[in-house]
């Protein structure tokens, strides 16, 4: 399977994503933001980082990059696109997934392990996963997901919420919500379910020596689903 990771100026998880994809069997290519065309890919990843320093709204400058026209077309034609952290913010700014990402509720950058509940397995990213709760890792300052009530109703009706912050037993409540996200939303899909934006970094959980191994489960499953 072929994947492409886009590097924007200020991306800093591009290498980590490359390492993870390659480890689990993707043939990965790094793509420069100023390129016009995407290599042939089964999966496009927008990695984490601080594209353009996050000096405007996070992700807004990158969402206007040259390569993003191709990414948008790729997504509209049904191609799989995944945005992690800053990549999620770029997807939101590009209008590929609904909602916005605000500053964390406690106004602090937060870096720690979290649990996420997978509620929705009718998509290529999470289908066939045995586990209902995974341990992922977050590291962000603007991960507080927000949308209007109408939008929320729409995404709930369309089953677009991919993952929720939860405790290790899968309970979602305010206490374990790390950033103030509405409904504890950690990741969201587009209507067609081929675009996923999420704040947690599965690529940081791919080795027993790191923060954990649930990222490995995610990537192995993803590869199998694409095959």
């Amino acid at each position: 399977m072929k994947s492409s990771v886009i590097t924007f100026p200020g991306s800093n998880c591009d290498r980590d994503m490359d390492v993870a994809l390659t480890k689990f069997g993707f043939k990965n290519k790094m793509v420069w933001h100023n390129d016009q065309e995407l290599p042939k890919s089964d999966l496009i990843v927008l990695p984490g980082g601080f594209s353009y320093g996050d000096y405007l709204r996070c992700g807004s400058m990158a969402s206007k990059s040259k390569i993003m026209n191709s990414v948008i077309n790729f997504a509209k034609s049904g191609g799989l696109v995944m945005g992690i952290c800053n990549g999620f913010q770029i997807l939101v700014e590009a209008g590929l997934v609904p909602g916005v990402l605000l500053r964390n509720k406690y106004l602090q950058f937060i870096c720690k392990n979290v649990h996420v509940k997978i509620d929705n397995k009718e998509n290529t990213f999470f289908k066939n996963l045995d586990k209902k709760v995974l341990e992922f890792h977050i590291a962000h300052n603007e991960g507080n997901y927000f949308c209007t009530n109408d939008q929320l109703k729409e995404i709930e009706d369309n089953n677009q919420i991919a993952i929720y912050y939860c405790d290790q037993n899968g309970n979602t409540n305010d206490q374990i919500n790390p950033n103030g996200s509405i409904k504890n939303i950690a990741g969201i899909l587009n209507k067609e379910k081929n675009v996923l934006g999420m704040m947690p970094h599965p690529e940081r959980m791919i080795d027993e020596s790191l923060s954990g191994e649930d990222g490995s489960i995610f990537f192995k499953n993803l590869l199998n689903n694409i095959k």
Binding site: P9, D54, F109, C111, S209
Partner: protein
């Protein structure tokens, strides 16, 4: 242009005799640009004029040292053609004025020092010190500094893997922010700042030059022109995004063979970077200041040379490589300008609007800079306190432990390090909160451990002992995670060198550091000195900060401090004599500040440490932790909390009472966890190496029981330890 005289020189921070020396060296009066350059090169920060004579005594050589002090950073060999570049630096004064930007640019500056040498930064650390928690500024300063460190490091995508935070009244008017960075480089791809060759193009890359951080700006406004409103504040403003681009662009250019020499523009900006490159290459340098990319209009030569705008580099290129280099910097949207060339004049010559505006022999700025052998006062070892033993009898272990675990200098610093990205780059295998931070060497079995420490109270009580102790503390932190200590970097934070007491503290701390480094074969490879940490005549406690770096050959053998398995046995390595003076117990429970710090026995340090490494190598050690502030019981509590397991403790039969035994801060000690079946073999190795040890207890479930009398649950320990800082910062 205004006339220069002694008064203006003094306003630039030069002394009268220094100004006379400048005129004598030049055989004329300098113009204002030249005076600015001299004042920047001859100030304490750049010239080390009060410290140089003593820094020469540091132990800086060793088999693993590739580059010692004198370059942008130190370099050590970690085998297989790999090397680690590292350094620590202070950003104390700006962080007090503007905590966010001061701390942020401190982090930015030290990372530049590391990637200037061709190394990709792989880890950041920091040591930060604040005033009393009762002081009204402390909270805001802490919040600002932590945001600044995170703001810069997180954006760069470099994990912050360890650190140290302390609170002490002596920092009320002068906080300390010391930032350390480690980078990874191939041994044959290290870049240096020594220029070579004539007529080689001198290149300016990175951000544009603005009026930020201009040296002497406090007085410059009124003296040099009347347009005060044009001057920006003197604290530099960091732009981590540009630095990230600069990092990638520099490493891309470094992968080829275009660069002869490279130097980042840190303190004293274009002045010190150009002069250092010329000086090291024994060359001259010619710069056309009209070519320097400027952020603001009508900048004068004086301002351009003294600006401390961040995220800039100066490069001497191979002739004919300009186009290749320009293409890379264009790709990363960074400024690129050929601003001059190397010459054989051995002078720095500056041109502006087709006129020569400065012409100074390079050696007058560097070799002939002032060096002082300042007066200093030797400290006597204080007499031991005679503490009435009945006081100990009145203390309950449980209450005392609660107070110590929740005290500002011992409590968990999770509130701080959760704001730092410590997992980016995907190689962090030991996070903050352990004895050392550990990162893997990407795509290898090796890992690098790093730690940063200081013990101002010990140094204040007796500088010589304190200096030794800090070095040993970092050595133990590295050993505790299973790393072989290799080398250190030091950041020497002191008060005014013009006072005999402060200078004495400096001289004796340096002597202590040197003795310990020499004995442990643990050389100093880089560092910096920060004097004048004082406000209204009140100086800080002497605070030499040591950053230690070690190697773990097989990262799977790394040790952590969390208790692993019920029924395993806990041993205390090293002898407990009951030293209470200057301990946390003494200061916060007994309210006693006198007496000597614990004695440092270098033989025991080395012997205990190397023996423990041997046990780790043989896979006997399940968890380990060094004993430091708060003594054995504090160290055990942390192992319990981390492992979520309890311990049944039986105090060995000693003459000293239990309070002394549990809270004493004797040096050279560790706690180790071993499987009962290994006890015989482990004892044999310890005995054979003459290492003193005591069996102190065994791991049980969820409770700490001391001599069947005192009982605490792990949840109690946790809440004492984790709640203080969070509730303080709310």
């Amino acid at each position: 242009m205004m006339e220069v005289n002694e008064k203006i020189a003094i306003e630039h921070g030069l002394k009268s005799n220094e100004y006379k020396k400048i005129c004598k060296l030049l055989k004329r009066t300098p113009n204002i640009t030249e005076l600015g350059i001299f004042s920047a090169m001859w100030n304490e920060h750049c010239s080390y004029k009060s410290s140089r004579i003593h820094l020469k005594k540091l132990h800086t050589k060793g088999k693993k040292v590739i580059q010692g002090p004198g370059e942008n950073a130190g370099v050590i060999d970690i085998e297989d053609g790999d090397a680690i570049v590292f350094k620590i630096e202070s950003h104390n004064h700006p962080s007090f004025i503007e905590p966010y930007q001061g701390a942020a640019t401190g982090v930015g500056g030290i990372m530049r020092d590391v990637f200037t040498m061709g190394a990709r930064p792989i880890a950041n650390l920091n040591s930060i010190h604040f005033g009393s928690t009762q002081n009204k500024n402390t909270k805001n300063l802490l919040r600002g500094v932590v945001h600044g460190i995170g703001g810069y490091g997180n954006c760069m995508g470099i994990p912050t893997i360890a650190g140290q935070t302390s609170f002490d009244r002596s920092y009320n008017g002068n906080i300390l922010v010391n930032a350390m960075t480690l980078g990874l480089v191939k041994k044959d791809k290290i870049f240096y700042s020594k220029a070579a060759g004539l007529n080689k193009p001198v290149i300016y890359v990175g951000s544009k030059t603005g009026r930020d951080g201009i040296h002497g700006a406090s007085m410059a406004s009124a003296s040099f022109d009347e347009k005060i409103e044009e001057k920006k504040p003197t604290v530099q403003v960091g732009d981590p995004f540009t630095e990230k681009l600069l990092l990638e662009a520099c490493l891309e250019l470094m992968s080829g063979d275009s660069i002869i020499a490279i130097q980042d523009m840190g303190a004293a900006g274009l002045t010190s970077s150009s002069i250092e490159m010329a000086s090291k290459g024994n060359l001259g340098i010619e710069i056309n200041l009209n070519k320097v990319p400027c952020r603001e209009t009508k900048m004068t030569p004086y301002e351009i040379m003294l600006s401390e705008s961040q995220e800039r580099m100066l490069i001497v290129l191979e002739s004919g490589k300009e186009e290749i280099a320009k293409k890379i910097f264009d790709k990363w949207n960074l400024d690129f300008a050929v601003i001059g060339k190397t010459t054989n004049t051995k002078n720095i010559e500056l041109f502006f609007d087709n006129k020569q505006v400065a012409n100074i022999p390079v050696n007058t700025l560097v070799e002939n800079s002032p060096m002082y052998d300042r007066k200093w006062k030797k400290s006597k070892l204080p007499k031991k306190n005679k503490i009435n033993k009945t006081i100990f009898k009145s203390l309950k272990i449980k209450d005392t432990l609660k107070k110590i675990l929740s005290s500002p200098n011992v409590c968990s610093k999770e509130w701080i390090w959760q704001q730092y990205d410590h997992t980016v780059m995907g190689d962090t295998i030991q996070k903050p909160g352990g004895d050392s931070g550990v990162v893997r060497v990407h795509k290898t079995d090796k890992a690098i451990a790093a730690t940063v420490d200081s013990s101002a109270t010990y140094c204040w009580a007796h500088p010589l002992t304190g200096g030794k102790q800090v070095v040993c503390e970092t050595w133990r932190n590295l050993i505790s995670v299973g790393a072989k200590p290799i080398a250190v970097t030091n950041c020497l934070n002191f008060g005014s060198p013009e006072k005999e007491e402060n200078m004495g503290e400096f001289v004796e701390c340096v002597q202590g550091i040197s003795e310990a480094c020499k004995y442990l074969d643990y050389p100093v490879v880089s560092g910096n000195v920060s004097f004048y940490n004082e406000t209204k005549d009140i100086g800080i406690k002497p605070t030499p900060t040591i950053g230690g770096v070690g190697l773990i050959k097989d990262y799977k053998k790394m040790i952590t401090m969390d208790f692993k398995e019920i029924d395993n046995i806990i041993l205390v390595i090293g002898k407990t004599e009951g030293h209470i003076d200057q301990s946390l117990l003494s200061r916060i429970i007994l309210n006693e500040n006198n007496g000597p710090p614990p004695e440092v026995n270098l033989f025991n340090e080395k012997n205990n440490g190397l023996t423990l490494l041997n046990l780790i190598e043989k896979n006997f050690i399940k968890s380990a932790h060094d004993v430091s502030l708060g003594g054995i019981i504090t160290a055990i509590s942390k192992m319990c909390i981390k492992g979520d397991k309890g311990i049944q403790i039986k105090k060995p039969k000693f003459l000293i009472n239990e309070i002394e035994y549990f809270f004493a801060e004797d040096q050279g000690r560790y706690l180790i966890e071993i499987n009962p079946k290994d006890l015989k073999e482990v004892s044999k190795i310890l005995d054979k190496n003459s290492v003193h040890y005591d069996e102190i207890g065994k791991i049980i479930d969820k409770e700490m029981i001391i001599d069947q009398k005192t009982k605490l649950t792990i949840d109690e320990l946790k809440s004492y330890n984790t709640n203080w800082l969070k509730s303080y910062m709310v």
